[in-house]
């Protein structure tokens, strides 16, 4: 038996399609890995019985045409999955079993994929370290005491530890790209509206976007192709033809103009991040791309803007968790108001409460204009910055994060420093444009670091191609000794 831990998603798809291995063999391989990796705390729910049954059913089928033929996949527990517990990392949804399947996961199953289980994440995707999960923090396989980033931290860890051949996450302010960067994997946040939000537990509706998390760029193209597509059930879904990202993937980037925004050279940025960035620039130059200095003048306002817009929307989106219809309900309380207070007080964790409070505050009468409305205006300016920029360049290159993975507990008492982790990723969400993070090197501790490529809306193919070219030159290798098994 070959070592599937070394296989990419595409390789596994091809192995199954050519009937060299069965879906069941592959599924059992990952189930075994998952069972040995409890220490990482990647999973909130597993559904092995169903996975095995589905794999057998798949093997009995005649049609292996799907993009993800017979591949077992674990997904972030923010996606609602039919008849499988979907918790969003929260106590308030601890026992919530949806009767419906999110559009994005449904797309995966339609392409032949099989669900392995649901991956840990920050509660309601609010967090940058996976430490706000009600189900305990996930550990980064890169190091025993390291966070995997967040909020798609369970997804990133599971992928890096080979507990799933690929996975999907959601990205509201960097929740795919930052954990990808922290775990040495590839994470792509698509254009807002490319992947349907229907059936994904909402955090901040105008920013949330699902995307692929994979071991390499090829897999990213494949998985994006499988998961994206117009959905009439989501009014913000973009109505356009599906792209063949994988088929059109190539490394011909000669002549492309790549912008380097000076505003991303932040104070106190570690030297090694700066060096990594330079390394990226050099690689692009060598590949024939043209490097252009660009300016995104409103970058410094992105984080404060984000921390008004996202909590505002979240405060409203999370109002439905009130103990009345589904989910956790406190037994305490003499009347409706007390039931609400106790349910939400006991059901939500601190970070969620913090953001609900911030959001409620910025939308309150008397503060709305000063905060929410102003933030919306700044958001437009940030988008205009990018629009202007993309008149001259094809893509923008930045670091993915201002640091490598930090230690568990290091930032839990300092929300601001935690929020600063999203400084390079947040502007992209505010502008609704796509970005990809690829592993580009290690810091002096040997922890992975990522570079981010940003393009204009719907230009996913372009950043995939640039990332594909860079990936080859960088030759990033990560060998984890599976210390957790």
């Amino acid at each position: 038996m070959s070592d599937f831990n070394k296989s990419s998603l595409l390789e596994i798809v091809n192995l199954i399609k050519s009937k060299k291995v069965s879906s069941l063999e592959i599924t059992n391989h990952f189930i075994k890995n998952i069972e040995k990796s409890k220490k990482l705390n990647c999973f909130i729910t597993t559904c092995f019985e169903e996975s095995v049954k589905n794999a057998k059913n798949f093997d009995a089928k005649k049609n292996f045409d799907g993009l993800l033929s017979g591949v077992p996949l674990a997904v972030k527990d923010l996606f609602c999955t039919k008849n499988i517990k979907s918790t969003a990392g929260s106590k308030i949804l601890e026992n919530f079993i949806p009767t419906y399947e999110s559009t994005v996961t449904n797309n995966l199953w339609s392409e032949g994929a099989i669900l392995l289980g649901k991956l840990n994440c920050d509660e309601f995707a609010m967090g940058s370290s996976n430490e706000t999960s009600y189900f305990g923090n996930t550990i980064n396989p890169v190091g025993k005491d390291l966070v995997p980033g967040g909020s798609s931290g369970g997804s990133a860890s599971a992928l890096a530890a080979n507990l799933t051949p690929a996975t999907i996450g959601t990205d509201t302010g960097g929740s795919i790209r930052q954990p990808a960067s922290f775990t040495g994997t590839v994470g792509l946040k698509p254009t807002y509206g490319l992947c349907s939000r229907w059936g994904i537990v909402a955090f901040a509706s105008s920013l949330d976007q699902a995307g692929p998390m994979t071991k390499n760029v090829e897999d990213s193209a494949l998985l994006l192709e499988a998961m994206s597509g117009h959905d009439h059930k989501d009014s913000t879904s973009i109505n356009k033809k599906k792209e063949n990202y994988l088929k059109n993937l190539n490394e011909k980037i000669k002549g492309l103009k790549i912008g380097i925004p000076k505003e991303y050279r932040v104070e106190n940025m570690p030297k090694e991040i700066d060096n990594l960035w330079k390394k990226g620039i050099d690689i692009l130059k060598k590949s024939g791309a043209k490097i252009v200095n660009v300016t995104l003048p409103h970058t410094k306002y992105a984080l404060p803007t984000y921390y008004i817009v996202a909590p505002a929307e979240a405060s409203s989106n999370l109002a439905r968790y009130d103990g009345v219809k589904y989910g956790y309900r406190s037994k305490k309380g003499k009347n409706l108001i007390e039931m609400y207070e106790n349910t939400r007080g006991e059901g939500f964790g601190d970070e969620v409460k913090r953001r609900v409070l911030i959001g409620t505050y910025v939308l309150s009468s008397g503060y709305y204009d000063a905060y929410y409305l102003k933030a919306q205006k700044v958001r437009k300016l940030i988008k205009n910055d990018f629009d202007k920029c993309f008149k001259n360049v094809d893509a923008i290159l930045t670091p993915s994060t201002p640091s490598s993975a930090f230690k568990v507990g290091e930032k839990t008492n300092d929300p601001i420093s935690m929020y600063l982790n999203d400084i390079f990723t947040v502007p992209v969400n505010l502008a609704g444009i796509p970005a990809i993070s690829i592993p580009a090197g290690q810091d002096n501790k040997g922890y992975p670091l990522g570079l981010q490529l940003i393009s204009r809306a719907l230009d996913e193919q372009k950043i995939l191609n640039i990332a594909f070219a860079m990936e080859k030159s960088i030759g990033f290798k990560q060998s984890l000794n599976r210390w957790w098994e």
Binding site: C80, F96, G199, K233, A319, R320, V324
Partner: protein
């Protein structure tokens, strides 16, 4: 006829107070499915059987606008002579309640779909324009049921997500009666358009009533109180009356009116405080990020405009001009689109003057008594037209016609058949009538002598006897002619 003068003031020993009212009418949109989901809107279904995952706000569910509801709102806006906004925004109105599953209601706040308009009321003191401030679309909430159990509240979400139009008037109304006619006018317009059935028992039409008072002649408005959720026109009138009197009493005793939300207690006929301004909710409105701004094209509006029916005001003008009706008659006949249709159907084949009288007097009496809609009238327009034709042609007298009509009401039958079967046809053969008259005069020769010697009052007696002898079927005109002739000799 001289016009009456407006005279609704609350008069006290000291002052005359003017009552100022503005209305927020909530009208349920006629549509198969809800504003943002595919669930049915049918009234009266078992609790929680018309509820989708969207209506009950399950995680990850998203609203998708129902285009038909947009059409209905635009049509209503056109019916209110209002400006249709090509760009409008759906906002979230955030508050917690058990029958509000998402914890917010999707509504329109700063940018409604319909802007300013006006409706015209026919008051005894002349026509009165009432300004419309705006019309916006919003979702209805579910229903909390508190009276099934002492310890529990039950929630029925069938209504959750049903489309409502909130029609906000300017503070242009000045009396309970104006409010009455205004609500009826709105209802008539919406029924003509087919955008709201106006059924107040089923809650399809309800209103928040804003009341303030000011001294007669004063230009500045007083502080208003909002009476929430009044669900019949009668209660609106009662609530305004009692609230205005309450405010006047307060002001005359030197107190001030606090702006607040009040409820109307229909049993005690009084309003009472629900929450003060300080306790008012902060709804934290903001644009719903799940929905894009609503952009509609002028061509879409023009297309709807072309399909609009003739509206009551226009129809009334036409009825007055074309059919020579009085404004009162025209008003009555256009008050419901089905009445106007009935009327126009009848006069296709019958005399207009007779037709309007028969409909307004006889038919309405029957419908009222039987509590029937004109659509369910036992007398079809075709049959009423035949009846009127029989009168016009002298086939039957007006008196006999009433008898025939009674039978038509009971049986739904055709007048010609009834006349034939019951032998009610008017006796119009002069020879036959002459025979009857000769007999009557012969039987009463003494009275004939008295008549001839000057007691002319007896003429009526002879007519009565002739009619009796003919079982009421004698053609009165012929009877007259022949009788006069015979008595001369």
């Amino acid at each position: 006829m001289e016009k009456e003068k407006f005279d609704y003031y609350i008069k006290t020993d000291k002052n005359s107070w003017e009552v100022v009212v503005g209305l927020e009418v909530h009208a349920q949109v006629i549509s198969e499915s809800k504003l943002f989901s595919g669930s049915s809107t049918k009234f009266g279904a078992k609790p929680n059987t018309q509820v989708s995952l969207v209506d009950s706000a399950f995680p990850g569910m998203l609203p998708v606008i129902n285009q038909y509801c947009i059409e209905q709102a635009v049509k209503t806006g056109l019916g209110l002579n209002a400006k249709i906004n090509l760009y409008s925004i759906f906002d979230r109105k955030n508050y917690f309640y058990a029958d509000l599953p998402a914890g917010y209601q999707i509504s329109q706040y700063k940018n409604p779909i319909v802007g300013e308009g006006a409706v015209t009321l026919d008051m005894p003191y002349g026509s009165k324009k009432v300004g419309i401030e705006r019309l916006h679309l919003e979702q209805d909430a579910g229903k909390s049921i508190h009276d099934l159990s002492p310890d529990n509240t039950f929630v029925d979400l069938n209504r959750s997500g049903v489309a409502l139009m909130e029609i906000v008037s300017k503070p242009d109304l000045r009396s309970p009666n104006e409010v009455n006619l205004y609500v009826k006018k709105l209802r008539t317009i919406m029924r003509y358009l087919g955008t709201c059935d106006g059924n107040m028992q089923e809650g399809s039409l309800r209103a928040d009533v804003n009341v303030s008072v000011r001294k007669k002649g004063e230009k500045k408005f007083g502080t208003r109180c909002e009476i929430k959720n009044v669900n019949s026109i009668k209660f609106m009138e009662m609530a305004i009356d009692s609230e205005a009197k309450r405010q006047v009493e307060l002001l005359e005793s030197g107190k001030v009116i606090e702006q607040e939300t009040r409820l109307f207690d229909t049993k005690k006929n009084e309003t009472r405080s629900m929450r003060s301004k300080e306790e008012a909710h902060d709804y934290r409105y903001f644009p719903d990020p799940d929905l894009l701004p609503l952009e509609i094209k002028q061509s879409f509006i023009d297309g709807l405009k072309k399909k609009l029916p003739e509206l009551p005001d226009k129809k009334k003008d036409r009825f007055i001009k074309k059919f020579k009706l009085t404004p009162y008659e025209a008003n009555v006949l256009v008050s419901e689109i089905d009445i106007s249709k009935y009327f126009e159907e009848v006069i296709k084949n019958a005399d207009i003057k007779l037709a309007k009288n028969w409909i307004i007097v006889e038919l309405f009496a029957v419908l009222n008594e039987k509590n029937l809609d004109i659509k369910d009238s036992p007398v079809s327009p075709k049959n009423l037209a035949s009846l009127i034709k029989a009168i016009s042609s002298g086939e039957i007298s007006g008196k006999i016609a009433k008898k025939v009509f009674e039978i038509m009401v009971e049986t739904g039958g055709e007048p010609s058949k009834i006349i034939k079967e019951k032998g009610l046809k008017q006796q119009s053969d002069p020879k036959e009538l002459e025979k009857i008259i000769i007999k009557v005069l012969g039987d009463n020769s003494e009275k004939v002598s008295e008549y001839k010697s000057g007691k002319e009052k007896l003429y009526g007696f002879f007519v009565g006897e002739v009619m009796k002898a003919s079982s009421g079927k004698a053609n009165p005109k012929l009877v007259n002619d022949i009788l006069k002739e015979k008595l001369k000799k």
